[in-house]
Each structure stands twice: as structure tokens, then as C-alpha cells.
């Protein structure tokens, strides 16, 4: 089965190359916002399959519950009312990890193997290796990963890598009542999107289009939008997402320098210890400050 393999393409903070011999079919989730009724079946199925449960929160005056992604809610329906395209529209967008071809989170992550990218395109977090530094949050152009207060680790959508690994579709895809979510090879999904765009244009949505932003090398979660020229009206879907310049600076220039600095700090610390001895602190004094 073409979609099964989870051969590793890249691992965070790892210099040794991953096996390259096999290239598996790239997969994609297509989110057709024009068919989405915002029912939250995807949110429900996501919690159920992944054995996480969201807290019972509060209503802030919106259908959006929870109000944002959390370490338990890896996908959230975002609701927006707009009249800027003529008659009132209720734009409902399923938000969650985009599984970028060029993942900012993985690039930013300093912990080896905490973030991996499989050759089918899935970008997965392995929380047992996560050190909770939050760099992936900074690296993400879509503001997706969320740090858990409970265990200090970062969580996000796995595209149900456990299901895809055995040839099943992700849980949200299966649940979706209206075929607003479709899953398959990226090629097939682009073709499906193109058919949808023809239908939308016939219905008067001149600017209907596919959202597969090149700034992050394309994504393995794509949107069909009725107003593809204005992704920001869908609750701030970024128009031209790109990995933050800071991540490149960190990875390109800062990292070797910092590594050297850390090495020498450690060395200096070692010499300090053997020559001077450990640094003493008074616990009582600390308590007074706390």
C-alpha cells in the first residue's frame, strides 16, 4: 500500500543523513472550506482517536470551542463572519498542522529526533524527546504547536501517523460528514481540488483556488478556498507563510558559534570546579526571595 510507509526523510537536530533509497507516495489532507459546515466532527474524532481530552472550557461568544489550539486540541474549527465579499458569509476553517514540506518547527528544534518528517510528508512530534524549549513554536509560520503545562512538552496534529502507517486515513478525514476533508496522494488531492475550483467558479466564486503555499515548500494539508486571493479573511490564514528569518539565522550562523561558546563555557566551568570548587548558595536566602 502506497501510503503505508513512514520512512524517515529528516530528523530534528540530526546531522547523520536519513535513508534516502526509497521515496514513498506523498500524502495530503485537503480541506475544502466551501463544503465545511463547522460541525467539529474532526475535533471530536481527533480527541477520541488520540486519547486526549480537552477541558470543559467557557463560551467566549463564539462557536469556536476551545477558542484556540491546545496540547489536547490539535485541530480547531475557526469561525469568521464577513460581508466583505457581498452577502454575509460564515467562513469556517479547520486549523491545525499544515505538515509543511519545509517544516519550520523541525528546523528550529534543537532536540535530536523530537521532530521527524517522513517521506510521505507527515511531520510528527515525538514527545519523549521533546525538551520543551518552544523553538518549534517560534519556527512555525502557522502558530500551531502548543506547549503542555502538564508535562512541558509540545503537541500538535500527527496526521494520525499511526493510522496512516497501517494504511488508514486520519481519524478526522474519516469522520468528516460532508467530504470537506479528503485524504490521498498529494497529486490526487490537487486534482480533486481543481475539480472543486471549477464548480466554485461556476457558482460565481471567481477567486476560488488552492492554498498550498510555496513559502514553506508546499504543505501536506491544503485548503480549497472560495476567496483564495484573501486567505487572511479565513481567521488569519497567512497569505505568504515562510519560516522566520530567526530560525535561519539560528541554524545557519548562530548554531556553530553557540556550539563553540557552549563548549568553552563547559570547559571553563570544569576548570573552575577543579580549581575553585562548587559554587555555594544559601537556601534560606533563596526562600526569602521566593
Amino acid at each position: 500500500m502506497a501510503l503505508q510507509s513512514l520512512d524517515i526523510l529528516r530528523r530534528s537536530a540530526t546531522t547523520t543523513p536519513s535513508p534516502q533509497q526509497r521515496q514513498m507516495t506523498e500524502v495530503a489532507k485537503l480541506i475544502d472550506v466551501t463544503k465545511c459546515i463547522g460541525c467539529k466532527a474532526c475535533q471530536s474524532a481527533c480527541q477520541e482517536w488520540n486519547d486526549v481530552r480537552e477541558e470543559v472550557g467557557i463560551n467566549e461568544g463564539s462557536y469556536q470551542n476551545p477558542h484556540d489550539l491546545t496540547a489536547n486540541s490539535w485541530t480547531v474549527m475557526r469561525f469568521a463572519e464577513t460581508e466583505e465579499n457581498g452577502p454575509l458569509e460564515w467562513l469556517i476553517r479547520k486549523d491545525g498542522c499544515m505538515h509543511c514540506a519545509d517544516p519550520g518547527c523541525l528546523k528550529a528544534c534543537p532536540s535530536p529526533g523530537a521532530i521527524v518528517q517522513y517521506s510521505n510528508g507527515i511531520v510528527d512530534f515525538h514527545e519523549e524527546h521533546c525538551i520543551g524549549c518552544g523553538y518549534c513554536i517560534a519556527g512555525c509560520p502557522f502558530d500551531i504547536p502548543r506547549l503542555s503545562k502538564k508535562d512541558g512538552k509540545v503537541y500538535k496534529c500527527t496526521l494520525c501517523s499511526d493510522r496512516v502507517a497501517v494504511g488508514l486515513e486520519p481519524a478526522c478525514i474519516k469522520a468528516c460528514p460532508t467530504q470537506a476533508l479528503v485524504f490521498g496522494s498529494k497529486e490526487d488531492m490537487i486534482q480533486h481540488a481543481n475539480e472543486r475550483i471549477v464548480d466554485l467558479k461556476e457558482r460565481g466564486f471567481e477567486d476560488a483556488g488552492l492554498y498550498d503555499p510555496p513559502g514553506v515548500g508546499g504543505t501536506h494539508v491544503m485548503y480549497v478556498l472560495h476567496h483564495a486571493d484573501k486567505p487572511q479573511i479565513y481567521n488569519d490564514l497567512p497569505k505568504d507563510p515562510a519560516i522566520s528569518a530567526m530560525v535561519s539565522v539560528w541554524k545557519g550562523v548562530m548554531k556553530p558559534l553557540a556550539t563553540a561558546a557552549m563548549f568553552f563555557t563547559a570547559l571553563a566551568g570544569f576548570f573552575h570546579y577543579v580549581t575553585v570548587g562548587p559554587n555555594e548558595t544559601d537556601d534560606d536566602e533563596e526562600e526569602h526571595h521566593a
Binding site: I37, S44, N59, P110, G134
Partner: protein, 1065 residues
């Protein structure tokens, strides 16, 4: 998270050294990518169907363990069944969260007892509880049973104990419940249908002959125009809504939404049109006028398949908002309907004029009737802008041609009105005029609410019903012959089938199933053992009588009436007057704790409530076998996947236990009219536990003697003891037994037809004839003979369902017609109607008129009716005097309120389901931006909504999706109130929307007017003054976030996000 300086350094050092070590290459050796193990690899799969709505999606339940004897199965995951032809693997947010229903912390595990005046539950044994319940029931029955009425007529009824049946219980549970209740003489037997789709049964049966959704879920994909009016299918039936979306994507269909709110269905519609709640008839009569005016009707269809040519009696009148025969002095039956009938000829057939020119033919009467509903008047009443109304009319009219169809999807948005039945009637008439009934892609599709409320209606769990829509006798019907004669409908036109002419066969077979050998020709098949009605004891009347202290006991099976019935204050007071109440439920419902104080959400004093309460834990869907009937009339079997929690028992066992104990008591002690109890046919192998299979075989029917084949003399058609293959084999001589004639054929000699799983859809038109079994006779599209013209040619070759092959009618679907009657003859397609045709004019069937007429809701924002100021609201509706006093007026309550469901929750059930509670955690109301601005209410603030009957407090959701409407010279604001929150469960505690709703309903069915009433709204200041809360009330501390608009979430920089520690709340 609080971190002191030292901890901070430690943390920083740890993470720094971790990352440093990693960067230096000292990574742990197991830092290799490994996905989470697939958790279902060796689970046991069990097929089931979703217990929530009537789409009845297929489920696969994954059970831990492989079935070995030493293992206790536990369901660990539930997902959609991809084979299921309707759901195709999908599940809505409720279905996707079912695991948390099965394992809800609110699941009841042990029988419990609440003593009079007590403030707590006491755990008791099953034996103790059942013995005490049986004794209390017998004591009351012996004391209050009415054998004869004041006129001396035998009535054999028991009116001091009420019984509410479930909406999600299996057919087998429903069947045995009805059998036992009627044997006891209970007439106050009702079900969820009363407050849900009872108007659908009335309206659709009165129009077409059968009270059910005409087409199937999948068939919606064949429509060209879809109108969602009186319903919000995306919200209430998300998976069924797959098919309208499919129609849009594949069939280039146009989706129209007409609703007070721009709702989730509107989010994907081509056209959204606002309307004032409670004015649908004005809109639809306007559509009819448009169609007649523009001549956009299917003439051949209207002439041949409707009663348009029928001539109505000369003394029929409609004047000043009243039909002829009105008598205001009779509070029960306002109209004498004698004039609402056809003019008959010497042979008793209705006179017709095929030219449609006769001034008193139905067509001309209809023209006159709707002539008042001009587009301008429609706007004046409904508030719908005229151009939008005309746009809808034009789209509807586009389907008058034979190769285009309109489908109507509606639900409680039409039934929950004092004119509920007539709302549906209006659409039925439109569809008949357009020739869209019987057509693939057409129909009037009643989207039933609960998973088996169709089945429980079919099984007659309604006060005036027996199984199969046979009505119970009235007091004056003292002999069986007269009773049958009245219901055995003779053809009103030559050559018609009039299938109800077979009624004696159905009725006799029912009595044989219930009373077995005791039912003989000599005793009129125990006719006198059936309770007789002096009036219908519907549940609206039941709670009214209860509030008057006239009901002593109440059994509540899988139902939460405290939350579900209008005017909660009244229902709560009613329950408090009971001597005893028995609740059977898988969950700890609000009703079961009506006596408990939950602060402002249920402000009662337990010490003053003398009701004895028994709470019995039952299985849920996952823990039992059985069948449910979905909205498309499919009987689908489901299988048990795990044992119930604790001591929970199946409803069938509980009812059987109760019956057997009563029987024992009557055998030993005697008592009031014990015969039906002692002689109830109970042929089950284990009397304490009849199996669902045994009960299904009984309602499907079996032969009691060898049945001769009527077609081949000398041959035996069915041997004694064998299952019947359908209702055509039923006999009126006592040689067949069948518990529900319309379910006959569900379990044949070939086995359980409801368990069939053939997914094949040979033509791709969305008919899977081998999946499960549909009543009647496995027909999937009702009235499908009308898909062909009178000459037998399909109106649309591309939508061919059945056709005449030269010898008989055949096709993909089972023909809804006598298969050997060639086309071109006299027989018309609506075989259940004595006229043989669909009814535009509903002769002598409905309580409030043969044509729909616009009447204002009982609480109207206009204070008048622009059509007839002297007849404002439905003149035939029943309003109890106490409730009339509780109606508010527009001066005090200026805003229109309407109630509805959300996708994430299912009534109050999902309040107990963690996943769903997290998706809609807290009560809110929707208020339009104009009204919010007027009242100074900001989004996210708390408001109090009041009606004459009570108040609720909720978060205000200020939205552009509800706009102010210009109605005549005034501006009408509408407020949306979702129905879900209560004082039990896992969501934040809320107020029942029924604190607000008026206690009155539809003139035919008493289904409450939940969808249009008056309220006032104000800011809730109690949070600013917490001291105003009553002492002892659990006031939750809650942080209210800053107020913001939905779309306006500001993006923060990555740095700020990290610095703020973007963690979960």
C-alpha cells in the same frame, strides 16, 4: 506556573545541557523515529448504529480482548462503518465522541431509591426495587382502573399512571413496552414523537397516505434544487447532510436555506433567505400562488395524481380566517369537519372535473385560497425581502419540468409550531403541484430527530395509537365490527386499491400476537381488552393532569421530560405532585433528580417533595442487540459489543420483570380486570428475558396454521409456525399473528432481513435494496409509481426507479403499487389513500383545516394577524386555561425567540459526554448585532432572557447572522436559543431553554410551540454582584476573558508567544 529563581536556573541548566549534549552528538541511542503503535491491531469489532439522530450512521465498536472466556470486553474505540450506505464511515461530533457516552461518569450502575422528602439516593437491590414498583403500580391500578365509563360503556382504561417511552430504545423494547402497557390498560402512554415529529406523521399521512420521510438519505444527491426550510440539516443531521453536499458537488444542485438564522446549513448554501419565526405558511402559500400564477406546475401529474379535480361539497366555506363548522365552545374539538369533504355520486365515489374548471373543484378552491398571499403580503408577514422571496420562488418553479426535482428537507423547524402540521402540508402541496412526489431526488423529507423515534411511532407508542398506525378505539366504539368498519377505508374513486381496506387482517393479527390463544373469534379477538379513549391522553395533557394532582405514578423510560417539555416550572411542579416515579435510563438524567436543589438552575426544596423515585440503570446501544428505524424507514439491526456497567439491565428485561411480577400479584391476589394481564401471550423461551430476536419475529409475524396459497389452490403458502414474508400474507381469521403489520417481512423464513449488509447500489442512484430492510415491504422511495406518467413511462428516463415491463411493475425499488395492474387504468399511485391520489385539499383528516392558513404564533410580535385580525392564532389549537394565563405580550416581551440544536450536542444526553462537553461547554444565546447595539450588549457578556414563564442566563453571542427584520411597519428582532444545557452532566451548568417556552402546541398533535415565542433580554449583572446569589448555592469562580469579536484574533509575534509561554489554559 510559579518558578523561583533557583528553579529557573536549574531548569535552564537542564534544558541547556540537554540541548548542548544533543548538539554535541551525545544523543540517546533510542532517538529514532517510531510512530505510536496502531491501537486496533487485535481488537474485536462489533457492528452497531449510532443512537443519536435518525441518520443512524453505521458504527464499528472496537473491543479490547479477543472474546476469550477469561477476558471482560471493554469498548476502547468507536468509529464509522465505511460499508454503511448513508454514512460511508463518517460520524458527526456526537457519533465520534460515542466512546465517552459508553464510559460516561454519569452512567448508572445500580438501582437507586429516593424516599419521599429525602435529599439523597440510596442504593437498593433490583429485587427490592422491582417488587416495590410492582406493588405500587398494582395498588394504584386496582384503585383507579375504569372498567366502564359514566354511560356504562366498557372502556377498561387506567388513567392515573403515565408512561413515557424512549426515543432511542430498540424496536423490540418499544414493542414489548406497548404490549405490556396496553394489557395494563394504560392510555397515558406517549413517546418523544409527541414533542418532536408527530406533526410529520399527521401531515404526511394526510397528504400522501403514510406518515414518513418519502425518500432516502442517499437519494437527496439526485435533487436539482434542495430547500432546507423548517430544518437545519447541517446542524441536526450532519452526516445525512453529506447527500445535499453531494448533490451540489456532483449534480450542480442549488441549496436554498430559509431560516430565521444564518445557520450552519446556510454556511454552504447558494441562497440564504431570512424569515420571521412562525410565518412559514405565509411564505409557502405565497410560493403556491406564484406557481399557479406562473403556471409552473406539472399539469399531467396534478390532473392524474392529485385531488385537484375533486369537487368539494357546496357548503364548505372559508371566511375571516375560519373554516366552516367552527365551534369555539368545544375546547377539545373546535371544528365539525362534515363540510370538508367531497361531493359524492350515487355509488359513493367522489365527483371530479378533469378540466379543473368547476368552481368548487379543489384546484379552483386552492387558487382562491392562496390568492391573498401576494409577494407583498408575504413580505409584510414574514419580513423576508420581496426580491429574495421571488428568487426562491423562481428556483422552486424551475423544478416543475419532468427532468428536474426539488427536495424538501425539514425537521422540527416546522413541527414545533401551533401550526406544525399545516407547515408541512404546505410543502406537501407544493411538491404535488410540481410533480416531485414519488420521484428520485424529490419528496418531502421529514428528517426525524432521534435514532428510533420513527420506529417507536411505527410501533404505536402514542396515546391514540396501536402498532402500524391503527388508532385505538374511542369510548363509543363498543363493538369490534363498527370499530373496524370505520377504519377500513373504502375506495373513493373507481378502481383504487385503498390499502387500508385490509385493516381487519392487520388488527386481528395484532390481537393474536398479543393475546395468543385467548383471542378468538368468539370473544371478538379480545377487543374489549383494548383500553378505549374518551380523549387522547397525550403527554402534554399528562403533565397538565399531573400538575392538577390527577396522576399518581409515572414511568419514564429513556427520556428527560424535565428538560424536554415546555414550561419547565410547570413540569417540575407536576412531577412534585406524583406519588411515585420510575426512571429507566443509562444516564443520570435531570428528570431523575428533579427533586434535588441545584442552586439557581433547579431551585427546589427536596424536603417538600413527597415523590418516591426509583432510578433503574439500563444498558445503552453498545450493550444490546436490536433494531432501530432510521428516518428513511430502514430497520437496521445492531449487535452487542460489551457488558453493561455494574448491575445495569436491558429495558426488555426490566419490562418483563415488571410484567411477570404484576402477573404473579394478580394471580395470587386478584384485582381490577386481571384477564389481559393473566392472558398476555408470553411465548418466550426464557420468560424473564425475551430475546430481541424472539420479539422481532413476533412483530414481523408468523403463521398459526397452514395458510393456503390464494393464487394456486391446494398449495400451502406458509406452514404453521413459519415466519410470514410480508403483510400480504396476513389473514383476518386468526390464523396469523403479527405485532406490527408495517414491519411484516422484517424477519422472514430467510432470516433477519434487518441485519442484511449488501452495499450494492446497482444503478448508483442511491438505492441499496439489500442493505437492512425498509418498511413497507422494503420500499425505499415511497409512492414510486408516481415516478412514471399515467401511461407508465418514467417522467425522467435518467431517474427511472420502476417501470412497467409489459407484464408487471418492476425495477430497482419495490413498486409501491399493485404489481400486476397495467398502466393506463384507473388505479392511481397513492395506494394508501381511498382517493388513490395525493391530497391538495385534505378532506376530513386534520383538526385545523383542509388548506394551510397563516396564523400567528400564540405569542406574536405583531399583536394581530394582517390577514384576519379577529382570528390571530390557530383557532383549533388546544390551550389549557392555566397556560393561556402564562402567555406574554409584545409590550412586556418584545423579541421573538426560537430554539434549536447544535451539531456538537444532542439534547441533554451529551452533557454527560466529555468530548462533546468540551466542544460546546457553556450555554449561550445568539443576538443580532442591531439588537445588541440597541441594548448595549457586547459579545461574550452574560445576559438574562425572560419570558412570561421564566428566565435563563447565558453568554451573549453577538452575530451578524441574525438580522433585524422589517415586518410591516415594525422592526422585529429575533433571538436564538440552543437547547442543550441542564444542571446535570459535564458541561457547565445551564438553564433549560424550556424555562421560557409556552405550554401549548399544534392543533392536531399537541407538539409544542418551541420555535416561536416572545422574550425580553437584559444584561445579567449578577456576576458583578456575587452577593446577590442565594446562600448555599455553588457559585463557580470563573475568569471571563476579555471581550472580542470572532474573527478579530490578533496575531502575536513568535517571540511574544514564547515569552508569554503559549501554553494551554
Amino acid at each position: 506556573m510559579q518558578v523561583n529563581r533557583r528553579q529557573f536556573f536549574k531548569l535552564s541548566a537542564a534544558s541547556l545541557s540537554g540541548s548542548t549534549l544533543a548538539v554535541l552528538g551525545f544523543s540517546p541511542s533510542e532517538a529514532l523515529a517510531e510512530v505510536r503503535t496502531f491501537k486496533l491491531a487485535r481488537t474485536t469489532e462489533t457492528r452497531n448504529t449510532c443512537p443519536y439522530c435518525s441518520v443512524a450512521c453505521g458504527l464499528i465498536m472496537y473491543g479490547m480482548g479477543d472474546g476469550a472466556k477469561n477476558v471482560k470486553a471493554e469498548i476502547i474505540h468507536i468509529e464509522g462503518d465505511p460499508d454503511h450506505p448513508v454514512s460511508r464511515g463518517s460520524l458527526c461530533p456526537k457519533g465520534s465522541g460515542l466512546l465517552d457516552f459508553v464510559h460516561s461518569p454519569s452512567r448508572l450502575k445500580y438501582p437507586e431509591y429516593r424516599a419521599p422528602g429525602s435529599g439523597e439516593w440510596k442504593r437498593v437491590s433490583w429485587d427490592w426495587a422491582m417488587e416495590r414498583i410492582a406493588k405500587r403500580l398494582k395498588e394504584d391500578r386496582d384503585h383507579n382502573f375504569i372498567a366502564k365509563n359514566e354511560q356504562g360503556q366498557t372502556v377498561n382504561r387506567w388513567t392515573s399512571v403515565g408512561f413515557l417511552a424512549a426515543s432511542a430504545a430498540s424496536n423490540e423494547t418499544g414493542y414489548i413496552t406497548n404490549k405490556i402497557c396496553r394489557a395494563l390498560g394504560i392510555v397515558m402512554l406517549d413517546s418523544q414523537a409527541r414533542i418532536c415529529h408527530a406533526p410529520s406523521v399527521s401531515a404526511l399521512a394526510a397528504s400522501f397516505g403514510r406518515g414518513a420521510m418519502t425518500n432516502t438519505w442517499m437519494d437527496i444527491k439526485n435533487a436539482d434544487v434542495i430547500i432546507a426550510m423548517g430544518g437545519n440539516p447541517a446542524e441536526a443531521h450532519p452526516v445525512g447532510f453529506k447527500w445535499p453536499v453531494e448533490a451540489k458537488a456532483r449534480n450542480k444542485a442549488k441549496l436554498i436555506v430559509v431560516d430565521p438564522r444564518f445557520n450552519r446549513t446556510a454556511a454552504v448554501a447558494d441562497l440564504y433567505v431570512p424569515i420571521r419565526a412562525g410565518t412559514d405558511i405565509a411564505f409557502l402559500n405565497g410560493v403556491i400562488r406564484y406557481l399557479l400564477d406562473k403556471d409552473a406546475i406539472n399539469h399531467e401529474y396534478v390532473e392524474a395524481y392529485t385531488n385537484a379535480p375533486f369537487i368539494v361539497r357546496g357548503d364548505f366555506r372559508f371566511e375571516g380566517g375560519l373554516y366552516s363548522g367552527y365551534d369555539a365552545s368545544n375546547p377539545e374539538v373546535r371544528y365539525d369537519r362534515r363540510t370538508w369533504t367531497y361531493e359524492l355520486d350515487e355509488q359513493g365515489y367522489a365527483k371530479v372535473d378533469q378540466s379543473l374548471q368547476h368552481p368548487r373543484c379543489v384546484f379552483q378552491l386552492l387558487k382562491t385560497h392562496v390568492d391573498r398571499y401576494t409577494p407583498e403580503l408575504v413580505t409584510e408577514i414574514t419580513g423576508t425581502p420581496t426580491d429574495a422571496f421571488l428568487e426562491v420562488c423562481a428556483l422552486i418553479a424551475s423544478t416543475a419540468v419532468p427532468d428536474r426535482t426539488l427536495t424538501s428537507l425539514y425537521a422540527l423547524g416546522w413541527t414545533h409550531h401551533s401550526v406544525g402540521v399545516q407547515n408541512i402540508r404546505a410543502m406537501a402541496m407544493i411538491q404535488l403541484l410540481l410533480g416531485n412526489i414519488g420521484m428520485s431526488g424529490g419528496g418531502v423529507n421529514a428528517l426525524r430527530g432521534h435514532s428510533n423515534i420513527q420506529g417507536l411511532s411505527d410501533l404505536g407508542l402514542l396515546t391514540e395509537m396501536l402498532p402500524g398506525y391503527i388508532t385505538l378505539p374511542r369510548d363509543h366504539e363498543t363493538d369490534r365490527a363498527g370499530y373496524l368498519e370505520k377504519r377500513t377505508l373504502k375506495p373513493l374513486r373507481p378502481g383504487q386499491w385503498s390499502y387500508w381496506s385490509n385493516l381487519p387482517k392487520f388488527h386481528t393479527s395484532l390481537m393474536k400476537a398479543w393475546y395468543g390463544g385467548a383471542a378468538t373469534r368468539g370473544n371478538d379477538y379480545c377487543y374489549d381488552w383494548l383500553p378505549k379513549l374518551d380523549k387522547p391522553y397525550d403527554s402534554m395533557r399528562m403533565f397538565d393532569l399531573m400538575a392538577q394532582g390527577k396522576v399518581n405514578g409515572f414511568v419514564c423510560q429513556g427520556f428527560n421530560p424535565l428538560a424536554s417539555y415546555p414550561d419547565k416550572g410547570k413540569v417540575s411542579a407536576a412531577l412534585s405532585k406524583l406519588k411515585f416515579m420510575v426512571v429507566m435510563d443509562p444516564l443520570a438524567t435531570d428528570t431523575s433528580e428533579f427533586w434535588q436543589n441545584y442552586g439557581e438552575h433547579n431551585d427546589v426544596n427536596p424536603a417538600t417533595i413527597e415523590t418516591e423515585v426509583f432510578r433503574l440503570p439500563t444498558t445503552c446501544f453498545a450493550e444490546e442487540d436490536g433494531s432501530l428505524v432510521n428516518s428513511s424507514r430502514w430497520l437496521q439491526w445492531h449487535w452487542k459489543g460489551a457488558e453493561p456497567p455494574g448491575e445495569a439491565r436491558n429495558d426488555i428485561e426490566i419490562m418483563s420483570d415488571l410484567y411477570l411480577r404484576l402477573k404473579e400479584l394478580y394471580r395470587n391476589e386478584g384485582g381490577a380486570f386481571p384477564e389481559p394481564i393473566l392472558n398476555l401471550h408470553w411465548p418466550y423461551r426464557t420468560p424473564e428475558e425475551p430475546t430481541p430476536g424472539e420479539l422481532a419475529r413476533e412483530y414481523s409475524g408468523y403463521a398459526l396454521a397452514d395458510l393456503a396459497d390464494p393464487e394456486t389452490p391446494g398449495q400451502v403458502q406458509v406452514r404453521s409456525g413459519q415466519q410470514l414474508s410480508g403483510f400480504a400474507q396476513l389473514r383476518d381469521d386468526g390464523t396469523t399473528a403479527c405485532g406490527n403489520w408495517i414491519f411484516s417481512g422484517a424477519w422472514t423464513e430467510a432470516g433477519n432481513q434487518m441485519a442484511r449488509r449488501d452495499t450494492a447500489d446497482p444503478t448508483g442512484m442511491g438505492i441499496a435494496p439489500g442493505w437492512a430492510w425498509a418498511w413497507p415491504a422494503n420500499r425505499r422511495i415511497l409512492y414510486n409509481r408516481a415516478s412514471c406518467d399515467p401511461a407508465g413511462k418514467p417522467w425522467n428516463e435518467k431517474r427511472k426507479i420502476i417501470a412497467w415491463d409489459g407484464r408487471r411493475w418492476s425495477g430497482l425499488d419495490v413498486p409501491d403499487y399493485k404489481t400486476d395492474v397495467p398502466p393506463g387504468g384507473e388505479m392511481s399511485p397513492f395506494i394508501m389513500n381511498p382517493e388513490g391520489v395525493g391530497r391538495l385539499f385534505c378532506a376530513d383528516r386534520l383538526a385545523d383545516g383542509p388548506f394551510p392558513e397563516h396564523y400567528e404564533p400564540f405569542e406574536t410580535p405583531l399583536g394581530t394577524n394582517p390577514l384576519h385580525p379577529n382570528v390571530i392564532s390557530n383557532p383549533a389549537a388546544r390551550v389549557f386555561p392555566n397556560d393561556r394565563a402564562m402567555l406574554g405580550d409584545r409590550e412586556e416581551f418584545p423579541y421573538v425567540a426560537t430554539t434549536y440544536r447544535l451539531t456538537e450536542l444532542f439534547n441533554t444526553w451529551t452533557d454527560h459526554v466529555r468530548i462533546n462537553a468540551s466542544l460546546q461547554p457553556e450555554q449561550f444565546v445568539e443576538i443580532g448585532v442591531e439588537l445588541a447595539a440597541e441594548l448595549g450588549i457586547r459579545n461574550g457578556e452574560r445576559v438574562t432572557v425572560r419570558s412570561k414563564r421564566g428566565h435563563i442566563k447565558a453568554v451573549a453571542m453577538v452575530t451578524k447572522r441574525i438580522r433585524a427584520l422589517k415586518v410591516g411597519s415594525q422592526t422585529v428582532h429575533q433571538i436564538g436559543i440552543p437547547v442543550h444545557w441542564g444542571f446535570m452532566g459535564l458541561t457547565r451548568k445551564g438553564f433549560f431553554c424550556n424555562n421560557l417556552t409556552p405550554y401549548l402546541g399544534d392543533a392536531n398533535t399537541q407538539t409544542p410551540e418551541f420555535k416561536a415565542f416572545l422574550v425580553n433580554v437584559e444584561k445579567d449583572l449578577s456576576e458583578l454582584m456575587p452577593h446577590t446569589h442565594k446562600p448555599g448555592e455553588g457559585h463557580e469562580e470563573r475568569a471571563r476573558p476579555e471581550v472580542k469579536l470572532e474573527a478579530g484574533v490578533e496575531r502575536v509575534s513568535w517571540l511574544r508567544r514564547i515569552l508569554k509561554g503559549r501554553t494551554e489554559a
